[in-house]
């Protein structure tokens, strides 16, 4: 064939490739664009008091971040689990267990704040690691393992708390938790920035850097992309999977500690349904449920999007049942957009 024939086509190909790369950019940062869009809608719909837009007031915006901090921290852990092609249904129950643990250890058992927190975090880590071992070493599906884990964690939490929420009173005496623990419910920087929001942002930034730069993260992506190929390429598949489940358990426990600090109590049923919100944040963030593709940036955007949505609906006094419905529709829309995403 002559060059004359190929030329026009090649030009055509390069032109479409720039077009596709713009489209794939849009999809790649879908959740960020979604967040911006929802944010703008929220500004427009926000009630106005004394000429000030309530939604964009700094107080309210920090409230949004505080409100999503627990789900957000869990969703960061969930992102790793979903990236390896797994799922963790136990996160909400582990949160409840950690909240109960914090309260019981400090109030009933007179532990100091740091020992209590460290014990609870270690328990979350070990719980996650055990689930990882059951899934990766014994080959039981993650869905099943963590469904069982959910029941077990709830069971332990109920036994430990006697079935009731354990209230946290602050003070120096016996049966009282150290006052510093109540800081988790406070705001800093002139009473502006909530502590849980700061913890969430720190965790998110660390996780983003970790996922972007660590060799471990490459292994995580590889396992989700093609586990068999990863194994044959020398990736320590079992070890990576166990660690990822451990990390998710650890972060869930951290969210539980924050939960106890914010509510001044630890209830065995705390965190019910949080696993679904966390999964929703991950999915809205563009992480593929089949693994191998996604980002923590997306997950954070997804969590904030859900937070903004809840916030504006509450500000507008929308019936909570309608809120649920709207949330469901947004998840479906986000997942639907994923399907339109070009292959590469």
């Amino acid at each position: 064939m002559t060059d004359l024939q190929t030329e026009p086509n090649e030009r055509l190909e390069t032109k479409t490739s720039t077009a596709t790369s713009i489209v794939s950019m849009l999809f790649r940062f879908q959740s960020l664009f979604g967040l911006v869009a929802v944010f703008i809608v929220a500004v427009l719909l926000s009630p106005v008091r004394d000429g000030a837009n309530i939604f964009v007031s700094s107080d309210n915006l920090f409230n949004v971040v505080r409100a999503v901090s627990e789900i957000g921290i869990i969703a960061v852990g969930m992102t790793f689990v979903i990236l390896i092609g797994g799922i963790d249904l136990s996160v909400g129950a582990v949160l409840g267990l950690a909240a109960v643990g914090s309260a019981v250890l400090m109030v009933n058992d007179d532990f100091g704040m740091w020992p209590a927190i460290l014990i609870v975090l270690a328990a979350g880590l070990v719980f996650g690691l055990l689930q990882g071992i059951a899934s990766a070493v014994f080959g039981i599906q993650a869905f099943i393992v963590t469904l069982a884990g959910l029941q077990i964690a709830r069971g332990i939490a109920r036994i430990w708390s006697g079935g009731q929420g354990v209230a946290i009173a602050y003070g120096d005496g016996p049966g009282e938790a150290p006052v510093s623990f109540s800081l988790l419910g406070e705001r800093t920087f002139n009473g502006l920035v909530p502590i849980p929001a700061i913890i969430f942002v720190v965790i998110a930034v660390l996780a983003i850097l970790f996922l972007r730069t660590s060799a471990f993260a490459r292994h995580v992506f590889a396992i989700g992309g093609n586990e068999k190929a990863a194994r044959l390429s020398g990736v320590p598949v079992t070890r990576v999977k166990v660690i990822v489940f451990g990390l998710c358990g650890l972060l869930s426990a951290l969210a539980g500690v924050i939960h106890a600090g914010q509510l001044n109590q630890g209830g065995p049923n705390d965190g019910s349904g949080y696993e679904l919100d966390a999964i929703a944040a991950v999915v809205i963030g563009g992480t593929s449920l089949s693994g191998g593709r996604g980002s923590v940036v997306g997950t954070v955007a997804g969590a904030l999007l859900l937070g903004v949505l809840n916030n504006i609906l509450a500000l507008r006094n929308v019936d909570p049942n309608v809120q649920l419905l709207v949330k469901g529709l947004v998840i479906v829309a986000a997942a639907g957009l994923q399907r339109l995403r070009p292959a590469s």
Partner: protein
């Protein structure tokens, strides 16, 4: 362009001016293609030449094309594969379209299960007819076995049986033999011959020149979505076809210069694996003895199920768990790798059998796939160093002549040959002493094949010991210094490729090496393997 077309024979299929583009790229540019009843029409071309697209249009899988398709002279416009099936067109896909969890019979009758009067599935009839179809395909399989348990080659035979069950007038076979052993290919040819006699029109897509020369009547060569040549398949030489496919002459397919073999790298002494859990369809090593020296390429041959893949997996720590007896020595030291990570650390690397299943994460970038085995080695304190990685990938891309736009592109967007080179690149980046290759050129076009052979030659020259399992006899004879013959998990013979040819390998694989113990099949097959088109282009 037409060669001696007998106008008296009406064209069963006539495609004229067929055009199809993906985005801006034209996959088919005004292709004319005809198929007559009782004809085997070979379709040749490198991967991406437009063969599969053209056939998917004929099979009703692609419907948004331009141009005309006529069956028996009547223009048709299929709207779905089912539509095309009703018109008597069936396609055997290169990607095996089977449901792993269903049994062989359930797969063969999927969507058209025979019914009893009560409307339930007539299981008995289904299994009986499956047995008949399997017998016609020449494969001894239990119709009740889940397809997921079968090896790739057996699965391929099941898809062929499935297509036979459709009683199609037009049968499109897209690389039906790529996972078959030589003996099974022979059986496939018997089936094709019977269909031809019965008046079925067959389109046969294959990268194996010797097959085309044997069973096809006509051959059409596509390049860049256009018809570039048409041959009388029986008179066509492999060199002619290759030249038409790549658009330039292919000088040497095989890298022939052998260096002096060095020290013994791998020594296996009477290796037997007693698998803890017996997995159906697997043939564990059951008495393997062989050696591979530095700079040597040693082949593994044998019929399907002889245990080639299982041996490579065992060496690489990816085989069945269980007790071993015998010894594996690497550089004289006994080893017993239980996972691939250990094997890699010991200095082995593997190119697995099916790159889509075991080789690559297709959605991930060329970069990510290529450096996967060495990310932790290149990392500093656990942090991946992008620049070092990119350097390593770029070097491999250059060294292996991988054709791509950017190393950030998904590896799935590359052609089959270039994908395979990425798997090679990953293995070579680990700087192995011993390279284990399982069907490294399957589904790879002839141009890329030549480059892969070149690459193997270079690797051997650099002192890497290579153990190569292949079901392509021409490849083994062309590339290897020695070939080990496996039968039922045992090493039964060792042939020097300076003296032995394809026929000898085949005879040894079948266990009819000694004169006098001959059977007619073996005699036929030996003759077949020696046919002129089978000599390759060297």
């Amino acid at each position: 362009m037409d060669i001696a077309v007998d106008d008296a024979v009406a064209a069963l299929v006539e495609m004229t001016g067929v055009r199809k583009s993906y985005g801006g790229a034209l996959a088919c540019r005004d292709i004319d293609f005809t198929l007559r009843a009782g004809e085997v029409h070979a379709l040749l071309g490198e991967n991406g030449a437009g063969k599969s697209t053209l056939m998917k249009i004929l099979a009703g899988e692609i419907t948004d094309h331009e141009g005309m398709v006529a069956i028996d002279g009547t223009p048709v416009r299929f709207t779905s594969p089912v539509d095309a099936q009703h018109a008597g067109i069936a396609m055997i896909h290169q990607e095996l379209d089977l449901v792993p969890g269903l049994s062989v019979a359930e797969n063969i009758f999927l969507g058209r299960e025979p019914r009893t009067r009560l409307g339930t599935v007539d299981v008995r009839r289904m299994y009986r007819e499956t047995r008949e179809l399997l017998a016609a395909t020449g494969v001894a399989l239990d119709p009740r076995r889940p397809v997921g348990e079968l090896r790739t080659g057996e699965q391929q035979l099941v898809t062929i049986a499935k297509a036979l069950g459709l009683d199609a007038r037009v049968l499109i076979m897209d690389e039906p033999s790529s996972a078959l052993s030589q003996a099974e290919v022979e059986q496939l040819f018997v089936v094709v011959e019977e269909l031809r006699k019965a008046g079925t029109g067959i389109v046969y897509i294959s990268h194996r020149m010797e097959e085309i020369g044997r069973i096809a009547d006509r051959a059409t060569v596509l390049r860049n979505g256009q018809v570039v040549a048409e041959f009388d398949a029986r008179a066509m030489t492999a060199a002619q076809a290759a030249e038409a496919m790549v658009g330039r002459s292919v000088q040497t397919l095989f890298h022939t210069e052998g260096g002096e073999p060095g020290e013994i790298v791998l020594e296996i002494d009477d290796l037997v694996v007693h698998a803890g859990r017996v997995r159906p369809g697997r043939r564990e090593p059951n008495g393997i003895t062989l050696t591979v020296r530095a700079g040597e390429i040693v082949g593994l041959t044998g019929l399907l199920g002889a245990g080639r893949t299982e041996l490579l997996e065992t060496l690489f720590g990816a085989g069945s768990r269980g007790r071993w007896s015998g010894r594996i020595l690497l550089d004289g030291k006994p080893i017993h790798p239980r996972k691939p990570r250990t094997a890699l650390k010991l200095g082995m690397a593997m190119v697995p059998e099916d790159r889509r299943i075991a080789g690559l994460a297709l959605e991930h970038s060329v970069h990510a796939n290529t450096v996967l085995s060495i990310v932790d080695r290149l990392a500093v304190a656990g942090v991946a160093v992008r620049a070092k990685e990119t350097g390593a990938v770029r070097e491999m891309v250059e060294r292996l002549k991988i054709k791509l736009r950017s190393i950030r592109d998904a590896v799935g967007t590359l052609s089959g040959g270039n994908q395979q080179k990425v798997v090679f690149g990953r293995a070579l980046l680990t700087e192995p002493k011993l390279l284990l290759l399982d069907e490294p050129t399957r589904g790879v076009d002839i141009g890329a094949k030549a480059e892969i052979y070149q690459l193997l030659g270079t690797a051997a020259e650099q002192g890497i010991a290579v153990l190569l399992a292949s079901s392509e006899l021409a490849e083994l004879v062309g590339v290897c210094d020695r070939v080990i013959v496996l039968r039922d998990g045992r090493s039964v013979a060792e042939l020097d490729t300076r003296q032995a040819g394809e026929a000898d390998l085949l005879a040894a694989s079948m266990g009819v090496a000694e004169p006098g113990t001959d059977s007619t099949i073996a005699a036929d097959m030996v003759e077949l393997a020696e046919s002129p088109a089978g000599e390759g282009t060297s």
